[in-house]
């Protein structure tokens, strides 16, 4: 149910008067100035830099202001391989970002460990410790893919509701904005994944024959 008649809205626009719900204005402002954290972990960062430079021009989306401190950033682009040694620092940086904050996992390594998945020293996806808004596959993803991810995030922000009950998580003062930082263990990070944030997905391959027989 539109708050204002579309015809009237269009008529008013012709005279330079814009009538729109406050949340639309609010989300428009927010989605058009996503400041990413200036932070790269591996080769994906080179593509991230290319996206910000003149050829691909991330400034068209209002996301060109890379901040060198998490306290001024809205978006963390996890660009590259997250080693287990680096993972606690990545989570700590995300914790230091003020709300509302978003996370893009860029590239095969950041979303799953990529070619290093079977290794002992690489985290099998940053979504084990922080909630990820947009995943981009690719090794590395091209700048167009990163721009697509930013646009996807913008659509996500534009769809946010201000009404009570349908507000995004960070509107709730009691909702957690910090996530548990894993500690260095004897053999692995402890815990190996934050169960509140991530659970291993189940697909048909994980279904046992016994379960199928029972059903």
């Amino acid at each position: 149910m539109p708050i204002i008649d579309e015809g009237l809205k269009s008529e008013l626009q012709k005279h330079g008067i814009f009538v729109l719900p406050i949340e639309q204005l609010y989300n428009w402002g927010r989605k058009s100035s996503i400041w990413p954290l200036q932070f790269g972990l591996a080769c994906c960062a080179i593509e991230m830099i290319a996206s910000a430079a003149s050829r691909y021009d991330l400034a068209r989306f209002g996301a060109e202001v890379f901040r060198a401190t998490p306290r001024q950033a809205d978006l963390m682009i996890v660009a590259g391989t997250v080693t287990k040694k680096m993972a606690p620092q990545v989570v700590r940086l995300y914790n230091q970002m003020p709300e509302p904050k978003y996370c893009i996992a860029m590239g095969a390594c950041a979303i799953s460990g990529g070619p290093f998945k079977d290794g002992y020293n690489v985290l099998k996806g940053i979504d084990r410790y922080i909630p990820v808004d947009v995943h981009i596959p690719g090794c590395p993803p091209r700048p167009e893919a990163l721009i697509h991810a930013i646009m996807t995030l913008q659509r996500k922000i534009a769809a946010q509701d201000l009404e009570k009950g349908r507000r995004p998580r960070w509107y709730d003062k009691d909702a957690p904005s910090e996530f548990a930082i894993p500690s260095y263990g004897d053999h692995d990070l402890e815990p190996p994944a934050n169960a509140e944030v991530w659970q291993p997905p189940r697909n048909y391959r994980d279904v046992t024959l016994e379960e199928v027989k029972k059903s």
Partner: protein, 198 residues
Amino acid sequence: MEAIEKIKEIAAQGVAGAQIEIINSTPAAQQPALLVDREHVYAVAKFFKEDPRFQMDFCSCVTGVDYLPKGDKPGFIEVVYHLYSVAQKHGPIVLKVRAPRELEQCHVPSLTPLWRGCEFQEREAFDLYGVKFDGHPDLRRILMWDEFTDHPMRKDYAPPADYEWEPTPHDETLQRAAEMHGVIPPTSMAELEKAKKK
């Protein structure tokens, strides 16, 4: 530079008591190496550095190699040094030294006092293979975190069980999935359909 036999002869004359053995590597590398006993490796390295015929002023590479026990032959960790001379534009001389695989006995002398460039590479060998370099000025882990207790490049290293999910398990991964989950998942949709029909 002279043939490896000649180099061995000169080094044996230069360092009294050193037991040096020529190891012929695989044809691909074509780089015979000198295996030196642990007690004399420092003296032999020093000789190569200081002797005017060699002047090996640059140690380009330090690495470890793990050999598991084979039959009744005990296993060992081998540390390999590649020495070059920038002054005389020759090299490499490949020095090898062996230590037992047991962590308490896995000690070799550090060559960092001779070549400062060995420092980080010896730390790496310590981190990944568990070789202790006696005389190293700052022997700490360099790649893994300090709390880590394993040496991951050893062949008997068991990686942590942080393996939960794999969308397309096959071969070794499928085996591992079966071990982790206690089940062998159906590997194809056809197999699952077949099971459903039964």
